[in-house]
Symmetry: C2
Subunit: 214 residues, 2 copies
């Protein structure tokens, strides 16, 4: 990513917006690589090719960058829960919708969701993100409980454990899924997974809901 | 864990063994907390209550500690693959056996497997561990392919994706599973999971093989 000339933001508001987005993308990459705690403004300066004072022209603080990045994961995830198909109909169908759409958000917002899943809770922003994650998990867990009460979810596994395993499956995508043509390959990758969001959502729903056994 | 008096190891070989194990356990806890790269001998000294020279009395290096810890995960995992039920019979049954036993190893060796799953590949030892993980994954992936060829695994999801989702589910245990009565609770934990290794293995096999839907 080429560094824009410092200061052009003032004269071109459109460019400034663009610059802020570029800085955010660079920051997210560095946060994922080094961990948020292990990233300094110096690292962000080096990675973005901007001096620290230019960086501060675009952003208020490292934590503000994290907040903006995490909002790009948290917002769309909660939008899923607000969709009509997530709130009307049989619980098992709502659950299936939420799983399918969560996978889609995860694929579309891969770096932001990756960051969300690695947050530790050392700062105000991280604690906010953890609380949002917990709220999301609680909503899905309640759907599993409701579907189990309807007799649509197997009753020989505790719904809390079902929810954990379901999220285990979904969240693992950030470790191994890379969009077709992406140069990034997960450390333990053994193959290519050129699936789009829809195919991936179908795969997760099939395995999680009906199992791998034929 | 109380710090043993420095030097007693020389006079009591049994104690020395015990001390080395204690140092290893402390080190694994610190490695998981701070990351291996983020851990110095100073951190290990503080956490163990031993001076650096006492530490070097028990261990050769930080990397040697990591190697010993990772061997405690890798060894039992490969032992599973060598069990008769993993090499004879129908592929789907061998796969089920491997999944059930992998879950058991994961529970019994929780901190060591947690460390294994977080290894980055910056040192010789980490690269060795990553290669062992890949070999384990490849063996399981081959079982899935064989079971699919037998017509026992659904054919509407790529076996490579099935394998990934299966490991996603299994590996997530290190994030949320805590043995009954354990003081450690995962950041996003919403409940208690006092399941033993057997019950947990059953739960994973049921959800992964037959799905959560009734």
């Amino acid at each position: 990513m080429p560094a824009p000339p410092a200061g052009t933001g003032e004269r071109h508001p459109g460019r400034r917006r663009h610059d802020a987005d570029s800085v955010l993308d660079v920051a997210v990459t560095v946060f994922i690589e080094r961990g948020y705690d292990g990233t300094s403004m110096e690292h962000l300066s080096r990675a973005s090719g901007l001096s620290k004072s230019s960086l501060y022209h675009h952003i208020a603080s490292k934590e503000q960058l994290l907040r903006t990045a995490l909002e790009r994961a948290v917002g769309p995830l909660f939008d899923v829960l607000a969709e009509p198909q997530a709130s009307t109909g049989r619980a098992i169908d709502r659950l299936e919708h939420v799983v399918r759409r969560t996978v889609a958000v995860l694929v579309e917002r891969l770096p932001y969701v990756t960051l969300l899943l690695r947050v530790h809770g050392n700062t105000e922003t991280e604690r906010w993100a953890l609380e949002r994650r917990r709220e999301f998990d609680r909503t899905v867990a309640a759907l599993v409980v409701e579907a189990a009460a309807d007799g649509d979810v197997r009753d020989d596994v505790d719904p809390a454990v079902v929810t954990r395993l379901l999220f285990g499956m979904i969240n693992s995508l950030v470790e191994w899924y890379r969009p077709s043509g992406s140069p990034h390959v997960a450390p333990a990758a053994t193959g290519h997974h050129g699936l789009g969001p829809k195919e991936l959502g179908d795969a997760v729903v099939r395995i999680a809901f009906d199992g791998l056994r034929r």
